[in-house]
Symmetry: C2
Amino acid sequence: MKSSTVTSSDIISSDKVEGTNVYNPAGDKLGSVDDLMIDKLSGQIRYAVLEFGGFLGLGTDRYPLPWNMLKYDTSRDGYVVPLDKAKLEQAPRYDESELPEYTPEYGKRVNNYYGMDW
Amino acid sequence: MKSSTVTSSDIISSDKVEGTNVYNPAGDKLGSVDDLMIDKLSGQIRYAVLEFGGFLGLGTDRYPLPWNMLKYDTSRDGYVVPLDKAKLEQAPRYDESELPEYTPEYGKRVNNYYGMDW
């Protein structure tokens, strides 16, 4: 239970972000944050890697989502993403054992899928 | 062994940053990255929280370091920080069980100690 994800400050621990639940706007739990992908030079988080399972029946696939898509909802103690099941079913994903190289091409593919700038 | 910390792209996984060794410029291993502290709104990493032990005999204390102080050294497969033992002995630290609130005041104290802008 990651009930202490957010402190009263604006700084949070990556250990606590990882494991935080992710919901769709309707309030359905989609999964949880498994990992964060970071720009090595700037230290900027580019992607939250979501583990979706159960609800979608997709096992343990990992879905990289542009960080800006995640909004924290204090009432749910989790992140909300503006995605429905249909959108996720076609989304870029990978098996947990097969972390892809996050090349610019891969990043563009992910961002384009979600209509986000690269 | 975190030998795959850096991919050939510029994007790295937080899971791999955590656990990466940290060295001083002389090549002594100081410890390893235990956690990352992230600005909630911008997604920018502000601090790498270092676990120093053994070499300094300080047990499992945690030392927040401004992210910009860490430079990745591919030849060492780890980060290098421009710090000596004397500087670390007086540095802001906390016990692993006592994560402080990263308020602006705390952040300023840490940054000021290392001569970094807040």
